[in-house]
C-alpha cells in the first residue's frame, strides 16, 4: 500500500509536468493553429540555458530562473511567432508541420554546437534531494511538491484565463477567424504573440522541472523526446481543452509509474523499453478513439504551393539522364565515395516514398526511416541465404520487407486516416519513436513463448546486413550496387510520374484539395489514403532494407526519429511534389550535409590558421538544413521548382544549353584524367550551372533578333496561335502570367465558345479591364478565380 501511494504521488508529479508542457502546446495550437513539433526543443534549450547560467556561470537560483523562464523563453516564443509562425497562416498543413519539425532539428544541432555533447552535464532537485516531506508514510521531495503545485496552479490559472478574461476568450476566438477578431476591435497578432510567449515559458518550466526527476543528466535528444511524450496528453485534450489535457497527462504519469512499480523487469526484459514507449503507445490509443473530424470542403486558405505535372516523355528522358550521369560519375569516384553515394541513393529511395503520399495526396509520414527499420529487420531475419562471406540478401527478402512494411503501414495509418493530416503525422511520429525505443531496442535474446526458440529483433545492438544478390547481379561490389540502386530509383521515379498522371493520381490530388467533394463523388477517402500510405510504406521499407545493406553494419542509432524528421524536412524543402525533389532531398539528407561538414573539418585541419573559421562553418552546416527548412515558410513549393524554372531559359536557347553541356564535358574529362581532384569537379559543376542559366538570357537576347530575322525571312515557322499561352497551364493564367487575348482565344476554343474576334476593339485591347459601359463581359472574358 505504501509502495502504491509512493508511486501514485510520483506519477502525479510526472503527470503534472507533462501537463505543464502539453498545456503550453495547446495554448499555441489554439491561438495560431500551428501544432508546434518544436515544443520539446524549446524545453530542451531552456533546460540547457538554465544549466549554463545557474551552474556554469553560478548565478543565484532565483536570478537564473527569472532569466530563463521570465526572459529567454517568452522572448524566444514571441520571436518564433513574429519571424516564422505568423507567415504560416495561409500555408498547408504539410508546410506547417515541416517548419516546426525543422525547428526541432535545428534546435538539436544548435544545442550540440553550443554545448559539446561529449561533456556530461547535470543538475539536481531544487532544494536538494534530501529535503523531503512525509505524506501518509511516503516520501516526497520539495522539488516534486513544487512541480505538483506549479501544475495545479497552471491548470487552474489557464482555465480561468481562457474562460474568465477577455484576452483569454479572444485567444480562443482568434484561431477561428483572425480578420473577424480585428473587425471587433481585437488584435489577433498581439494575442498570438502573447500565446507563443506563454507557451514557450510553459515548455521551459516543464523542461527545467523534469530534468532532475529523470536522473538529472542533460541530453538534447532525450530532453526533446520527453516533451514530445506530452503530445499524447495534448491530443487527449483534442488540442483545445486544458482540463482534458491535464487529465491525459496525469493518466500518462500514473501509467508510467505503475509500469515501473508492478511490471517484473527481470522476467520481462522489455519492461523498461515498454515504459519509455508508453506515451507513444497511449498517443496511438488516443488517436484510435478520437472522434472523426467532419470532412472538409475546399479549404479557405490559399495554398501557395503548386506542383506541375511532368509529361511521361520528360520523366523517361530524365530517368535515362540520371542513370547515364550516375554511370559517368561512378567512373571518377573513389571507392569510399561510391559507397557513400550508394547510401545517399538509398535515402533517395526512402525519400521517394514521400512523393505519392505527401506530394500527391497531401498526407505526411514523419517516420519513413522507421519503416526502413522494419524493412531491415524483416530482410535480415527472413531474407538471407548463404553463410560466411557468401551471405547474401535475396530478392524475395527485399520484396517481403516491402510487403510487411505495407501491412505495418496500414496498421499504423488506419486509426489516423479518418482524422485530419496533422493526426496522421502524429501517429507516424508515435510509430517512429515506438520503433526506436521498443523495436530496435530489443537487443537481448530471449526465449519466445510457445515457439521455444531464442530470438531478439536486434541481436546485441548491431545488425550485419548482407548485401543483396539479384540473380546474376551481385551487389557486394559498390559500383554495381550504385548502378542498381540508381536504376531502381529511376524506374520507381518514372512509375511515380505514371501514377500521378493516372486516374488514381488525379483522385489523390482531388482528395488533397477537397475530401468532402471526393466523398460526394462516391470515393472512399479512407480507402484511397490507406492505399497510398501502404504504397509509401512499402517503398520506404524497401529503401530502408537497401540502406542497411549499403551500410553493412547498422545500429539502432540509425533509426532514431530525428533521422526521419531530418529527411522529411529536407525532402519537403527540396520539393515534395517532384521525383527530382525526392532525389535532391534524399541525397542531401543522406550524405550532402555530412559531406559538407566533413569537407569543412578536413579543410580546417589542413589549414590550422583558419581552423576556427572552418570549424564554425562545419558546425554551421549542421544547423543549415534546419535554417533552410524554416525558410520553407517563404517558398513552400521547394527549391527544385526554382531550379526547374531557372533552367527553363534553355528552352529557347538550345545553343547555350549545348555550350553548357560541352563545358560540363570538359570539366568531367579533366576530372576523369585526374588533372584536378573531384572537389574541383563538384565546385566547378555547381558554379557552371549556377551561372549558366543566368547569363543565357543576356547572350540569347543579343542573338535572338538575328535569329528571328533569319526565320522571318525564311517564313518557315509561322507562330502558331497557341504558341505563347501553351507554356502556362490555363488554370494559372492570370496568376502566373497576365491574361492576354491569346489566352482568351485558347480558352474559348477549349470551352467550345464562339471566337471573341467580334469583340469591340477597345475591349480586346485592354485585357482584363472591361469598361463599364460595355456591360457584362462577353463570353470568353476570364473572371479570375479566387
Amino acid at each position: 500500500m505504501d509502495q502504491f501511494l509512493q508511486y501514485t504521488i510520483l506519477g502525479l508529479v510526472l503527470g503534472g509536468i507533462y501537463g505543464i508542457a502539453a498545456s503550453g502546446l495547446v495554448l499555441t495550437c489554439t491561438t495560431s493553429g500551428v501544432f508546434n513539433f518544436g515544443h520539446g526543443s524549446i524545453a530542451m534549450l531552456s533546460a540547457f540555458l538554465y544549466w549554463q547560467v545557474r551552474f556554469d556561470w553560478n548565478w543565484p537560483t532565483p536570478v537564473a530562473l527569472v532569466a530563463v523562464l521570465g526572459v529567454f523563453a517568452p522572448a524566444f516564443g514571441a520571436l518564433l511567432h513574429i519571424t516564422i509562425m505568423r507567415g504560416l497562416r495561409e500555408t498547408t498543413e504539410i508546410t506547417r508541420i515541416t517548419v516546426t519539425v525543422a525547428l526541432t532539428v535545428g534546435a538539436l544541432a544548435l544545442a550540440n554546437w553550443i554545448w559539446d555533447p561529449t561533456v556530461p552535464r547535470r543538475f539536481d532537485y531544487f532544494f536538494g534531494g534530501t529535503n523531503q516531506v512525509k505524506i501518509f508514510g511516503s516520501r516526497i521531495t520539495y522539488h516534486e511538491l513544487l512541480a505538483l503545485a506549479a501544475a495545479v496552479l497552471i491548470a487552474v490559472g489557464l482555465r480561468f484565463f481562457f474562460y474568465r478574461t477577455r484576452t483569454g476568450v479572444g485567444m480562443r476566438a482568434v484561431v477561428d477567424d483572425p480578420p473577424l477578431l480585428q473587425l471587433t476591435g481585437g488584435r489577433p497578432e498581439r494575442l498570438a504573440t502573447l500565446s507563443w510567449a506563454l507557451g514557450a515559458m510553459l515548455a521551459a518550466l516543464a523542461g527545467i522541472l523534469i530534468t532532475p526527476i529523470l536522473g538529472g543528466a542533460l541530453d538534447p535528444n532525450a530532453l526533446t523526446l520527453l516533451v514530445i511524450d506530452a503530445f499524447a496528453a495534448a491530443v487527449f485534450g483534442r488540442l483545445r481543452s486544458v482540463p482534458l489535457t491535464f487529465l491525459g497527462a496525469v493518466v500518462l504519469g500514473l501509467a508510467n509509474n505503475y509500469v515501473l512499480a508492478y511490471f517484473p523487469s527481470e522476467r520481462w526484459t522489455w519492461t523498461s523499453n515498454f515504459r519509455i514507449s508508453l506515451p507513444m503507445i497511449l498517443l496511438f490509443v488516443v488517436l484510435l478513439v478520437l472522434p472523426q473530424d467532419r470532412l472538409r470542403g475546399g479549404t479557405i486558405t490559399r495554398a501557395r504551393e503548386r506542383f506541375r505535372v511532368p509529361t511521361m516523355r520528360s520523366a523517361v528522358v530524365w530517368a535515362v539522364i540520371l542513370v547515364v550521369g550516375m554511370f559517368l560519375l561512378r567512373e571518377i569516384m573513389a571507392p569510399a565515395v561510391v559507397n557513400t553515394m550508394v547510401i545517399g541513393m538509398t535515402f533517395a529511395v526512402i525519400a521517394l516514398s514521400l512523393v505519392p503520399l505527401t506530394g500527391y495526396a497531401g498526407e505526411i509520414n514523419l517516420a519513413p526511416v522507421s519503416f526502413g527499420a522494419i524493412g531491415t529487420i524483416i530482410a535480415y531475419h527472413y531474407g538471407v541465404t548463404g553463410s560466411g562471406v557468401d551471405t547474401r540478401m535475396t530478392v524475395w527478402g527485399l520484396l517481403l520487407a516491402a510487403a510487411v512494411c505495407a501491412v505495418v503501414g496500414a496498421l499504423v495509418a488506419l486509426p489516423a486516416l479518418r482524422l485530419r493530416g496533422l493526426y496522421l503525422a502524429l501517429a507516424t511520429m508515435a510509430f517512429g519513436v515506438f520503433v526506436s525505443t521498443m523495436v530496435v531496442a530489443d537487443t537481448v535474446p530471449r526465449v519466445l513463448p510457445l515457439l521455444h526458440v531464442e530470438f531478439s529483433i536486434f541481436p546485441n545492438g548491431t545488425l550485419n546486413v548482407p548485401r543483396p544478390r539479384l540473380g546474376p547481379i551481385d551487389l557486394a561490389d559498390g559500383g554495381t550496387f550504385l548502378m542498381v540502386i540508381t536504376v531502381l530509383f529511376a524506374v520507381l521515379g518514372v512509375l511515380m510520374v505514371a501514377l500521378r498522371r493516372s486516374g488514381y493520381g488525379h483522385r489523390l490530388v482531388a482528395l488533397k484539395d477537397s475530401p468532402a467533394a471526393c466523398a460526394t463523388l462516391g470515393q472512399n477517402p479512407v480507402r484511397l489514403k490507406l492505399s497510398v500510405f501502404m504504397l509509401s510504406a512499402a517503398i520506404a521499407g524497401l529503401g530502408g532494407a537497401l540502406m542497411s545493406a549499403a551500410m553493412v553494419s547498422v545500429n539502432p542509432d540509425r533509426f532514431v526519429i530525428f533521422v526521419s524528421l531530418g529527411l522529411v524536412m529536407t525532402v519537403v524543402v527540396a520539393g515534395i511534389g517532384y521525383v527530382s525533389g525526392a532525389f535532391a532531398g534524399g541525397l542531401l539528407a543522406g550524405v550532402g550535409f555530412v559531406a559538407l561538414q566533413n569537407m569543412f573539418d578536413k579543410v580546417g585541419t589542413d589549414h590550422a590558421s583558419l581552423s576556427s573559421l572552418f570549424s564554425f562553418l562545419s558546425q554551421f552546416s549542421t544547423v543549415l538544413p534546419a535554417l533552410i527548412g524554416i525558410g520553407l515558410a517563404r517558398n513552400p513549393t521547394g527549391f527544385v521548382d526554382d531550379i526547374i524554372r531557372a533552367f527553363e531559359v534553355f528552352r529557347r536557347a538550345r545553343v547555350m544549353l549545348a555550350a553548357g553541356l560541352a563545358l560540363q564535358a570538359a570539366i568531367y574529362l579533366l576530372a576523369y584524367t585526374d588533372t584536378f581532384s573531384n572537389w574541383w569537379f563538384v565546385a566547378l559543376t555547381v558554379l557552371l550551372w549556377g551561372i549558366w542559366p543566368r547569363i543565357t538570357p543576356l547572350v540569347s537576347d543579343r542573338l535572338a533578333p538575328a535569329v528571328r530575322a533569319r526565320r522571318a525571312g525564311a517564313g518557315a515557322l509561322p507562330a502558331g496561335p497557341a504558341d505563347g499561352p501553351a507554356e502556362v497551364p490555363l488554370e494559372l493564367v492570370g496568376v502566373d502570367v497576365p491574361l492576354t487575348d491569346e489566352h482568351r482565344r485558347v480558352l474559348d476554343r477549349a470551352l467550345g465558345l464562339p471566337e471573341t474576334a467580334a469583340l469591340p476593339g477597345d475591349l480586346a485591347a485592354v485585357p482584363g479591364r472591361v469598361t463599364p459601359s460595355a456591360g457584362i463581359p462577353p463570353a470568353g472574358t476570364l473572371v479570375p478565380a479566387p
Binding site: 477577455r166 476568450v169 479572444g170 480562443r172 476566438a173 477561428d176 477567424d177 480578420p179 473577424l180 477578431l181 480585428q182 473587425l183 471587433t184 476591435g185 481585437g186 488584435r187 492570370g734 496568376v735 497576365p738 482584363g768 479591364r769 472591361v770 463599364p772 456591360g775 457584362i776 463581359p777 473572371v783 479570375p784 479566387p786
Partner: protein
C-alpha cells in the same frame, strides 16, 4: 459626382446624433485594390453621408465585398484614399478602424462559431477600447472619448432585442440557426453604438421572413441616425430603407442616385443587357 455628394452631406444637418459629436462619415476616393497581381477595384468613389443609408448593389463578383474590405481596413488600397469624418485613414489596420467606430458585419461570418453566445458578446466590447498607437490617437482626436462598454450593457441590449439569444447565452454560436447567428452579429451594431455600420449580404442563405426581420432592425438603426453602408445582391430588400443607391459593375461604380432613379438601371445591370 460623389465628391459633390460628400460635400452636401458634410454641410447638411446631422440627424439623430446628439451630444455634439462630429459625425464620422465614410468616404472612398479613387480607390484601386485587388488580390495579388489582379486588380478588382478600378478607382471607386463612394461616400456615406452622415446619418444616411447607402446601398451598394451589383451582381456577383462586381467587387462589393472587396470595397467593404477596403472600408473596414482588411484590405489596403493600392491607390486612392479612405476617409473617416474627413480625415484620411488610409492604411489604418482593421482593429484601429473598428475602435474608431467602423462596425463591419462581414459576409456569412459575423460570429465566432466556437465561442458561446455570451462570449461572442464579450468580444464585441473590444470595439469600444481606446485605439492604440500615436497615429490612431490622432485620428480619434476630436471625437469625444467614448466610454468603454461592459459585457453586462451589451448583454442587456442584446437580450432585450433578441430574447432568443438570452435563452441560448451558454450555447456555442456555431450551433445557432443562420438567422440567429445574424441576429447575434447584428448585436454588435446595437451594442457598441458605432459611427458607421457596414453590412455585407445580410440576407445570404436566409428565409425571407428572417431577412425581413433583420432589415427591420437595420431600418430602425437608420431611423436612429446611424450611417449605414449596405451591400446586397438582391436589391428589393434594401431599396425601401436606402437613401442612396450605388450600382457597381466590374469594379467601378456606374451609377449613383436615389433608389427610384437607379431602379431602372438595375435589371439591365444584373441581366447584362
Amino acid at each position: 459626382m460623389s465628391t459633390d455628394m460628400a460635400a452636401t452631406a458634410a454641410a447638411g444637418p446631422v440627424p439623430g446624433k446628439g451630444a455634439g459629436i462630429e459625425p464620422p462619415l465614410l468616404e472612398l476616393a479613387g480607390v484601386r485594390a485587388g488580390y495579388g497581381p489582379i486588380e478588382v477595384l478600378h478607382g471607386v468613389d463612394l461616400a456615406v453621408p452622415a446619418g444616411s443609408v447607402v446601398a451598394l448593389l451589383g451582381p456577383n463578383g462586381a467587387g462589393k465585398t472587396t470595397t467593404l474590405n477596403v472600408c473596414c481596413g482588411l484590405q489596403r488600397p493600392s491607390s486612392g484614399e479612405l476617409r473617416l469624418a474627413g480625415r484620411s485613414v488610409t492604411g489604418a489596420s482593421a482593429e484601429t478602424l473598428a475602435r474608431l467606430g467602423v462596425c463591419t458585419i462581414p459576409e456569412r461570418r459575423g460570429i465566432f462559431p466556437n465561442l458561446t453566445v455570451r462570449e461572442n458578446l464579450w468580444m464585441m466590447t473590444q470595439a469600444r477600447s481606446w485605439p492604440r498607437g500615436k497615429q490612431a490617437r490622432s485620428w480619434s482626436r476630436g471625437a469625444q472619448a467614448q466610454p468603454g462598454v461592459s459585457l453586462r450593457d451589451v448583454e442587456e441590449i442584446a437580450y432585450a432585442r433578441f430574447p432568443v439569444l438570452g435563452e441560448r447565452r451558454g450555447q456555442l454560436a456555431g450551433t445557432l440557426s443562420g438567422g440567429q447567428q445574424q441576429m447575434l452579429a447584428l448585436t454588435r451594431a446595437l451594442g457598441t453604438d458605432p459611427a458607421v455600420l457596414l453590412l455585407d449580404e445580410l440576407s445570404m442563405g436566409l428565409a425571407p421572413r428572417v431577412v425581413r426581420e433583420l432589415y427591420e432592425i437595420v431600418g430602425r438603426l437608420a431611423a436612429e441616425g446611424m450611417s449605414i453602408l449596405i451591400v446586397e445582391q438582391f436589391a428589393r430588400t434594401v431599396l425601401p430603407i436606402a437613401d442612396q443607391v450605388a450600382l457597381m459593375l466590374h469594379g467601378r461604380i456606374v451609377n449613383v442616385g436615389a433608389p427610384s432613379e437607379v431602379e431602372e438601371h438595375l435589371s439591365a445591370a444584373y441581366l447584362g443587357a
